[in-house]
Symmetry: D2
Subunit: 504 residues, 4 copies
């Protein structure tokens, strides 16, 4: 394992992080791979927050009048720098978050994609011109920069979620203040280095477009409470969202929340089972079940249930578990010991509620010492009990049977979360019904692909306890701007709307 740490050090160096930045700090960063300390980084003092807000406000005043296509050029350069740093940053994601190589690289690719998308947006940011009811009047609505954006991100997508927010926010004219997870400060620091390279090439950006808050919950609290930060984009648990949202609401700020998911797949009798198996395994065990979009609930037509479960068990039995940086590994470690215990507790609860567990044991052979490696678990449940309705951030897949499609839909919707969902079926009626107003109640609903792995072109986010926010594609950029409705009277008359008369 020493090698890995050494390589991690080398990568950190290549990404521009200095020894001074990586040592002597109060925040210990451990790799989920083997639990070793990768660095001890310096925390942002809470006392500095006022200065942070002041810098962001000043940066906003300058940045908002920079033409959007010029702001887009900064993001284009950021995309170039990310392309150049892809391998290193991807590897660092593996070290710090425990993802397998392909997923670490995929996450960086997602950053690159959003930069391309935001670059295009920078010549759009379309508002509307609107027909006015009054002669000699013109109406339009314009989207203007809104102010500094606070981004709170989670360990499991330590860099992509930031980039979704930052690429859009910066193109929209807003500076960013980023509070990454305490578990993943290094990837955040690396992103800032990469961003600074882009800024240097760009030339005349105001200082303070991106500020990093390294540390714990007190920083997040200060960020969330600040009137200087009109927009808070927070990714994490429902519990966190439930704390954050009212504080922001009370000060009339805007929240973009990406909270818990408890994502299901319905497998219909006509499904292509071979595809379904691959989709299920990727969705349920990818990132060791620690995606907000991980598949957690499998709702299978009873006619194919036994067959499908058998196939899944076979696939699960052969999954390569271990060092995520090793070639061929598909299941890496959980992020920490607490996660491992949470998984064990959930499996216990599931058994208590009538479930039969397959897998779910600790793995100690052939895996790096010091990491928390678990067998992904398949749990056959008699119904959708309490534990099934609870999000456990671990590779647990609950399996339930159904007979009629309406029953399956009802089960799909009968959880408090509303992020992602999917159906496997070759029957167009089932597929369409799943996507209809009476179908899935989630923000994401797919057909014949799993619930995870969204493209950046669509809006990402979910309903109910997932928090209702939308990021990434479509018109999610509007969440980073303020809308203004304008009526311009170029006549010499003063007609009132709705035919009101008021002659003085």
């Amino acid at each position: 394992m020493k090698d890995v740490v050494m390589t991690a050090e080398h990568t950190l160096e290549k990404l521009g992080l200095t020894a001074a930045e990586l040592t002597g700090g109060s925040l210990e960063v451990r790799s989920p791979i083997d639990g070793r300390v990768l660095a001890r980084v310096h925390e942002t003092p809470v006392a500095d927050m006022d200065a942070v807000f002041a810098r962001a406000t000043a940066a906003f005043k300058a940045w908002r009048t920079v033409p959007a296509p010029r702001r887009g050029e900064l993001i284009r350069l950021l995309g170039e720098e990310l392309r150049a740093a892809k391998e290193d940053l991807g590897a660092l994601v593996s070290w710090e978050a425990g993802k397998i190589t392909s997923e670490g690289l995929g996450e960086v690719q997602e950053m690159i994609d959003i930069c391309d998308f935001a670059l295009g947006l920078s010549r759009q940011l379309y508002g509307l011109t609107i027909a006015s009811e009054r002669p000699g009047h013109r109406m339009m609505e314009t989207w203007h920069p809104a102010g500094p954006v606070g981004v709170i991100s989670a360990f499991n997508f330590p860099v992509a979620v930031w980039s979704w927010n930052a690429a859009l926010a910066l193109v929209c004219g807003d500076p960013v203040i980023w509070k990454p997870s305490e578990k993943t400060p290094l990837t955040a620091m690396a992103c800032q280095k990469i961003f600074e390279k882009a800024v240097a090439r760009f030339g005349d950006a105001p200082e303070g477009l991106l500020q990093l808050l390294i540390g714990g919950a007190d920083l997040g609290k200060a960020l969330v409470a600040s009137e200087a930060v009109p927009i808070i984009s927070a990714t994490g648990s429902t519990r966190m969202g439930r704390a954050v949202a009212p504080i922001v609401a009370q000060r009339f700020g805007k929240c973009i929340l990406e909270l818990g998911g408890n994502n299901a797949m319905i497998v219909g009798p006509s499904a292509d089972l071979e595809m379904a198996v691959r989709a299920i395994v990727f969705s349920a065990v990818g990132t060791a079940g620690q995606r907000c979009t991980s598949l957690r609930r499998l709702i299978v037509h009873n006619s194919i249930r036994a067959d499908l479960v058998a196939r899944l068990k076979k696939a699960y039995a052969g999954l390569p578990i271990g060092d995520p940086l090793a070639e061929g590994t598909l299941v890496g470690p959980l992020v920490d010991e607490a996660s491992g215990q949470a998984m064990e507790a959930a499996l216990k609860a599931a058994e208590a509620e009538g479930g039969t567990v397959f897998g779910g044991k600790r793995v100690t052979d052939g895996v790096p010492e010091g990491g928390v490696y678990m067998q992904p678990a398949i749990v056959e449940m008699p119904g959708q009990t309490e534990i099934v309705k609870t999000e456990t951030f671990a590779p647990i897949l609950y399996v339930m049977g159904y007979d009629g499609f309406d029953e399956a839909l009802e089960m799909q919707n009968d959880v408090p979360q509303g992020l992602s969902s999917c159906v496997f079926t070759l029957n167009m009626r089932e597929a369409e019904q799943f996507l209809s107003p009476a179908g899935s109640d989630c923000g994401i609903a797919n057909v014949n692909i799993g619930p995870s792995g969204a493209e950046i072109g669509g809006a990402f986010g979910g309903e109910k306890e997932t928090g209702g926010g939308r990021e990434s594609g479509s018109d999610a950029w509007k969440g980073y701007m303020r809308r203004q409705t304008n009526t311009v009277n170029y006549s010499a008359e003063l007609p009132l709307a709705q035919g009101v008369k008021f002659d003085i």
Copy 2:
């Protein structure tokens, strides 16, 4: 005055309200015109709320699958019924809210306009089809009905604001639960009668599409807190919004807030003063200064300040104040005695902060006894002091001078509210700067028209303490729906986004 009450009774009867509904209840409804009791209506028991929510939920399940153009037909019929009832409902608005005749009718016209607009929307509700990065895949986003909508409205637009919400919500597939102001239950009850006529002609609408909550704050609280009501659209004071928003946020509901405004007009040296005077008087004294978009702050270039103030004083001196239903009246009563006292207190504070008050006295001659009639006030201020930054719901116009346009813009933005704003100028540079990213920070910004009297085609609402909601035109309808992002794989392959590989 007896006549008026008699006519009110007659109008109530024509609008279908029965004696049983108007008498014997615990909620006394007084007319601002003369303070007489118009009716004693029955309050909705808090104990009934669960049944209300259950009816709304059942109605939602049925209504969401009714095709939107068919839902639009209901709103078309509502528009027809409103056209038929325009004079009566307009008059009732005058009696119950104290508006002058033209404004009462204008409010009903606004209801009609939004019905026409919503009818058109009912064949749109456009989502997007989106280019997918994967072969054999299709992406789209669809907007689905979201669930019951709680509408909390204020006394000053007792019917229009409901119609903005109801027309869109119903076309979008959502039932409505309406809690009108305690001061204006009669107009709400009349609206429900009108709505029921439309429903009867429509034929097969589910029961419970519109439910009325008559009574006080406890009903509002129950509404706001209910998980059965995913969307709360609340119009009222900032104080109210600050109480409502966190409650809704904590349960991950969505708020559409239309709160306080403190709206300014900048008058530049090139302004058409004759037009400006007319716009100022209408915006500042219309609805007796009780619009959320009423003009409250006048920021005048010092070169024309004296001239403009003199013209305004002359116009104010000649304003017909009195019975709002009498021909020619431009200024009716304040809604109640508390409002009169608040106005007096504000004027006193303004004087204490260095202001010079013109007008602002109680009017007792030639006005109906029992109402609170005030002279609209012009207050020349040495600067934008505390009281100027406070919204007082009364016809007070604070006047401040400026020298440079940037200074004027800064004053315009230097209040906590962010609803409406305008500039009077013939200089295109000033006009455009006012509308630019560095211009007005309000949700509405106009040129050469006052801050009030928006057309329904634009999105209505404001920033900062105004609450950030948008109603009426543009894509405000999206606030009443849930967005779903779909990816459909019709190939026999299973490629992952971002090029991720995961081969089991």
Copy 3:
């Protein structure tokens, strides 16, 4: 039959057509029902065309500055008048075009629908505000009225197609000059009466918003050639379009062409055959096969071919053929004797090319004398021969078999026309493939509904020899406006785009 004529006269009278208008003219109007003369109407002299154009131009100058929502009010009133005249106008469509009652009424309903839609549009007509690359600059695009629109319509939709064009054109600010088919001047004259009622209620519309050209091809030619008419919307045969398009193109006018269709249905092995049969019969024999969207080609999977054909023959055998105004009739007359002969010629050709014809005979029993009544024909073909690729405006359905779905798609696309198409399948892969970039090449492509009977909310029109025009819903309204791109510089600087330097 006397009764019918009498009723026709009564209906014409109810629709406001006077004896003077209906008699003494040079254009004889015969009913397809029994060939009797319904009226002799007066033709527009070609010599009047200059005056027509002058009136349209003058009307345009006035109408273009009337606010669009006000223009929408005219269309709302038109919708009301159409609702009031629905039964009469529907009946007149039956008399003059030979449609069955339900289709005549459906056509009027379509007119009503488009009025509702256009009313909503009248507060939209959205252009864009666009991010500019230059500081102190604002970009937007606006849609402006374009000028008089020439509408050339065909006998088979004598009123709906006009309304699609007129409702949009008038809301967009453009007057309309309408040249209906020589075969159906009466319904056009009735529409003008209805329109005039709306205009009268509207109040202050300029004269000449709608002008009718009654007569033959010379009027159409003058219309098409006129520089005063920037937009020509022409519905009819491909031959007509091929003549019109180059003339308009040479004078840089815009064409909206709705020409021939040769619409196919693919029926896959998983199709719901019971539904397919009903869809096929309606699409193939509705309007006696005289819709541009009529189903003409049936491409059936060989495994179900025999079964499907047997079911169709059974259904065809029981079709009630006769007086379209009689209760229960599903198949009315062809429009004239030439159409009957064209059908017979096509069937003969089909036989010569290897086809086996079922039905297709003249019907003389139980049908009104003087009309051309034909049995709808099913022709089983060995392949897609020449006659199959030719549009014959009659109820002929060619049936071909296929084995692989790609083969079926290729047959679907292998005709010169490109209007409408559909697939019946419960297999989502087939459904999606049909709608994919490599699927149907038509402007309309449906799943599990026939090719005809589009809703007005979508854009209507087709590719290839169909002419490429789009009418009705979506953003088809843009075809009636001109787009203007605006850049406004409100700074005191003069930066050039693309960083060009040019310092004098």
Copy 4:
């Protein structure tokens, strides 16, 4: 001058053009700078055209199913290659088209900008999902690739116009067949080399995505007439467009025409004259008056006319004319002798029609021998005579006076062309009126910037004899795709639109 030619050779080499390609051909390429032969290139034989079309068709079949974001990647790479080749390609534009250095580089920058824009589009290409009137039905419209696009470009923007078309067409899924001007084949050949570099890096593009037609009008004719090329985008003279458009129309192809402009500026009494002078000079003499958007008509308020003309003459007198590659040059050569003679003829005609000419003489001192260098001309006209209404592709500026703004607007619109236009004014009423439905009738209308130098974010093109096409930004991409309207029935019912009944 020898140096220049040598450098040209070096640049051609750097751009990858080989001696074999540059010599021995039948098409002589001369530099406008000094008339020397830059190369003798090989013409595409007309006999090859069928193969060209076949390759394009094959490429289309493959390219249309490549996901659009992947197609966008090719354009991103093209943008990178253009960035790398910017100086060389810009210089070649100067040599081959005679543009000054800054304009040559600006043209390449425009290519880069459109690549960025198209890259963003590649994850959009948005169609709509649309509310259906029928239960259990779903409507949407999708944009699909349309087929090979023929691009005909002119000498004056030898590369940018191609890139506008190619970037959009390729992202939209369409191969491109490019026929550049006979005068500028070298820049086209260089572009193909650059494109091939991008293709090589891309990896798996089908062969034939970009094909070049080198030669004369017969190639253009074959291109325009081919059924294999559904879209023709042609830039050039009105005369050319008038020939092309009917041919394409007759075969139901689509034209995107960018033809003649005769662009005016209105200068109002409040205008910032210092800015106006700079804008006028750049717009009128930039690219030696050979832009389609060049300023040709100056409509000046009579109160400032003398002053403005005097300032212009002073500025014109000091213009550096000569070798466009020399530092400081603002006016380079006309493209050829014919252009020089056309300019002289126009000036003569202007004088005959009452004009007074300033400048307009041949320049022979201090300019490279062999080129056609002309003094830009200012011609004061008594009114808008025939020659003023004619586009002469040379630096002639006609000046006319006006008194009322309506008069100025009428003059602005009273020419057959309709490309670009602008007003200089600080008066917001004039500015807005100019942009209103009754204002400029051009496709482009600007305020306080000249008529030329559009940003790529807006749609580019014009009305009337300009041909009506739109390229570049906004939704111009739709011109390269086909629209398909889909209705999907996922119910087991078969309701008909408009409530039609047809029960068999």
